[in-house]
Point group: C5
Chain length 316, copies 5
């Protein structure tokens, strides 16, 4: 995610970081090159004058506007829903930490412990591991990368089990549920209050399942296809429609139009899958770190990691 | 559902899989043929010059844009809501599995079993059967097909009962509720926690009812009718309006306009009913398989089926 | 509600059932008649040439598009929210049936009954009556019609009471609540589980109140007024603007424009109040029947009525 | 709120009740007067020909359309959300009445009373008072007016207390909560069921707080400012752009354009603050009356007031 | 937040307070200056006639409209969601106050106290502190400023602890949870009712996390970039397209167009981050004050602070 203040008017045109310009440069260059050829030949194609005027482009532009507006909204909705789900995860993790420490009674006959042997600490650290495991699942990282981030928060035996699972976040919830069950059976938490904690676990499962949904179900491919085709046809035919009225300015105008259409299209592509690691994707690393800090602070730990900060205006 | 990366600019125009082109080809061909005739006759119809200019098309285009944009949004909302409901089902199934295993105590005086004789295993497998039964209900498949997928997850007696029911998913929920009741009465689960499990069952019922709603209530037919009529009139009259200004390019431009309008319309038709088996419909088979894998993994089963993968870029 | 597959391109233009054409025919005919007069007089009104060009229509069209798009979305949102509320009712009724049969224990010292003397059967049949009573309230039918459909599902004494009430669905919920209270006091259901059943009753009350809201609060009348006025002015002035450029085609083009504008407007009128009995209204009869079938099947009854099917493509 | 059927095409143009015409008449008249002057002078301003064409108005119209559409949607969303909140209040009041009568047991050793001395009756009447108190708060009426409507539903001592409070609805909820507490402590309601009643109280508090939010936070003033300025500039410059092409029809066309733009704007102003007493505002009196009827009917009272009916097509 | 009635038509053009004019003045002046130069040179740039017509601006305007409309909606959605979250906080605080005083029993063997030594008073005042702490977190104020507002509502020991925390609002919730736990263990509140109070705490945590989300995740920077670039190119090229048709009116028309486009853009910037202290940002001070008044009134305190009122039409 790009994090920066709005640049001044001039710098605005010089920025590349966060711009979609690099992505669309090949198409854009080709389009302007074609427009230049058309301008030079005064709209003739192999000596045949292509009799286009701006009128057809107004008509096609109508449909194109519907496509672009629709896809843009759909892509941003996915992005923002994904961000909401991770915000939900932040909140549910914090609430789980609070509930573990206020609803589960201390064991009466056991010494109080603060490491993973204590059920309350164990659940809280598993919630941190849950966030990391979900991030790795959504980003399709290697098992080794995932284990490296999970290791500090799980018992060794649990870490081995979790690595072999198809759905790791879900397994961690199951383990938390089992600890909760043990507390209920030991009388350390009233069933009514345990039901509240279980609701929190279900809400975490819901957020994870919704993230999987966004990852697994793109905007229907036919929309993308129809939109790309129309946008390409529009931009590559445009020089023929403009050359008679605006002459040598044709390549320039075509360039601006193509920049906005291709740019909006490419931006939609990037935003549509918000869990990746591109510049405009969600900063899952930073959110996971926030969860870790919050959870460990609530346990009273003091050697907390620092929040992640943007590197070159980009928060990963 | 089509699952593929965005093709390169060139291949974009050659793809047919996932394109709506085959669906709209007859109308499109007819339209371009009419446009060609109009071009050859210079806009005369039986020697009568049809005095149309592009202006009426801008005016009608306005209403058409409202129609197309509205219907497109409505159709996609149905598609995406349907996907959300199945995501909800994934989450609720997982939560039910977790709850069965952590909130229902082991029977004290009975040997622990892991087959369908054990209430916890039975409920979890019934949840798998619930997803399959809902899929078959939404797709109007034959009873034999449905039974084939339900059989491994139900007791033989239950399978026979379920086949005779008008609403099979609902019957399975009732059966789960009865098992839950037995656990409450046997003291294996506290009523407060049983209320939580019952909430999960209600949420599954809610998702099923909402899927039925989408299946059973199309976008009002009058919209479709008004939209089709306007789009057809627009595209078949368009050549008369364009031929005087763009001459021999008329059929080509009409083709592009018609491709986008008919295409958007056909795509809406396909997306509007998301539970079918067309290329752009929801991959219910794959989602059901995911549920089965998740549920059985949570039971500790190890001979899990593989997730479904796209065949020829299409996930069923 | 019209239920039919999309007709072929040709039949599309011949259909009247479900079309808004009959509704708008008077205005449309008058408009085309005026356009014909204008064409014959070459735009003169009492020898005064009306100096209109297409330009003002583009400008006014802008505001009109905002109006039409807004009202159309608002009307469809009402329609779809109404449908969702009845889907909610379907789901809540089913869940209530499941809860009655799984959360309320059998009376220990009484013989099991399956008629309305049994509290569980009684609540389930009252839920059927609730749906019918709500339908009649929303459609403002006569008390006799309502009683005819409620009679099989209520005790005679209750039927008499319900008929005298201002808000019949609410009274039925109160009766269900009283039966629930009796079960709590008799120890047949744990209070925690009774709270869950009470939630279901509240959700049914919520759906009913929301239906009343849609019925009782139309889209602000000023919108309708402003929209109608603008649309009429636009369509009746349009011939003066077009006659100079498209000549004898004027009445035809005006007809198409007016068809879409008046049609969209009339469709909005119909959809906006979704609880009526017009062709595009919600099939409340069919939904109530579905509820009755589901509820009675869950009780194990076997002499179930058939689901309603469309008559002449129309489901009531 | 205006309640009337759609008038016939002719009467449509004669209606003033519910129309925004009176509100915008001054601006509209001035605008048409200016347009007439411009027409007479053929677009000269102090002998200087103002060289405007329709083109700039298409370009500015684009931004104006964005503004108008946005503000219109935002204003209607506020209106409709406000209506939903009062619908929520209707439902929660009814559910509270049901819960009071079915979840709170009769006192065993006390005679049953039906006046405000009985806790169940008292809570139900306080819920009526809650609706009235909220209405008066949202409409900023005098304390005397509020007291007149609250008096029949509260004990005298309570009425005095409530008048001195900053937030009267909230105080009534606190009082209901205290009665609930007394019932819990007297063992007349199980804590699990009391939690459900408390949820209902919280939902009423939520609806009240949301109404305050809508009342207290207008659409950002800068939007209104930017929109008004653009709309005024547009309409007052328009005659210069049109006079060359449409001549003496200029004032007429300007009048139609200004009617729609100013009208949409004025309508937004009215709808945006839905709790007032203008013609298009919400019928809070009628809704409060509905709540009173529902609540008292549920108590078995028979001398119920009549529902409010529209006066001169207007429901207050 | 600007709070004022709609000014009269004339004053509308003279207002600066709340207008975005000061923000965009530099760009606007430069743009009009360029337009004046272009007008004087009749569209020549260094003796080269720039052959632009209005047509390209219609085409680019299409994409620009999509951008502006999209960004505007997204920015306002953020603003309004933020306002809803603070409304949620108002409601949850009030409900927490009610629950503390009605669900937690008085200690039987202790004297009733009304200061922070009493758990019920303590929780209520911590809820006030929660709102203030969240405000300071969202506005990134100094620790000293935050402490000054928190001090009256917390015990001295707690104030010191809270200042050292990374997430202060969350710490306060944890403290409230611990007091709740003590009440459960002392038997002063039934676990079922404590679960309800815990839900309220979770809802406050949810609102806080959602506010952090809005603060931390801007609209993707690439949108802003693409929009700014297109808007600047459009406005600075516009004079070349207009000068041939409207002559000396060019700078004036360009000024109006640029005012609306730059103004809408600048307004989006301001609204997008609603937690700041600019004129159009949310009045967090006033909302916090409302919470404080409500909470203390519910405790029966009488020396309540006054609600904040707008200063120079601006509520901070």
């Amino acid at each position: 995610m790009i994090v920066r203040d709005r640049p001044s008017a001039l710098r605005l045109f010089l920025l590349l970081r966060g711009s979609v310009l690099p992505t669309i440069l090949p198409s854009l260059t080709l389009n302007m090159f074609v427009a230049t050829l058309v301008t030079i030949s005064h709209g003739d194609l192999f000596r045949l004058k292509i009799t286009l005027t701006p009128i057809p482009f107004s008509l096609i532009g109508l449909a194109l506007a519907i496509f672009l507006g629709f896809r843009n909204n759909a892509a941003y909705d996915r992005y923002w829903e994904a961000r909401k789900l991770w915000g939900e995860l932040v909140h549910r993790s914090r609430s789980l930490a609070r509930q573990c420490q206020t609803l589960i009674a201390l064991p009466e006959d056991l010494p109080v412990r603060t490491d993973l042997q204590d059920v309350r600490t164990r659940i809280v650290h598993r919630a941190i591991a849950f966030a990391y495991a979900l991030k790795h699942q959504l980003r399709d990282t290697s098992t080794a990368d995932a284990e490296a981030e999970l290791r500090p928060h799980l018992l060794q035996s649990e870490l081995e089990q979790v690595s072999s699972k198809y759905n790791r976040p879900d397994f961690l919830l199951l383990r938390m549920g089992k600890d909760l069950q043990a507390c209920v059976q030991a009388g350390r938490i009233d069933p009514c209050l345990a039901a509240t904690v279980d609701d929190t676990l279900s809400a975490m499962a819901a957020a994870a399942a919704a993230c999987e949904r966004i990852k697994g179900t793109p905007i229907p491919f036919s929309y993308t296809l129809l939109l790309h085709r129309t946008a390409y046809l529009y931009c590559f035919l445009l020089p023929f429609g403009l050359v008679d009225s605006i002459g040598f300015m044709t390549p320039f105008v075509v360039g601006i139009v193509a920049y906005t259409f291709f740019g909006l299209d490419a931006l939609g592509d990037e935003i549509e899958e918000p869990f990746g690691t591109e510049a405009n994707d969600l900063p899952l690393d930073a959110i996971c770190r926030t969860i870790e800090i919050n959870m460990r602070e609530s346990l009273g730990e003091t050697n907390l990691p620092q929040p992640l900060t943007p590197v070159n205006y980009c928060l990963s």
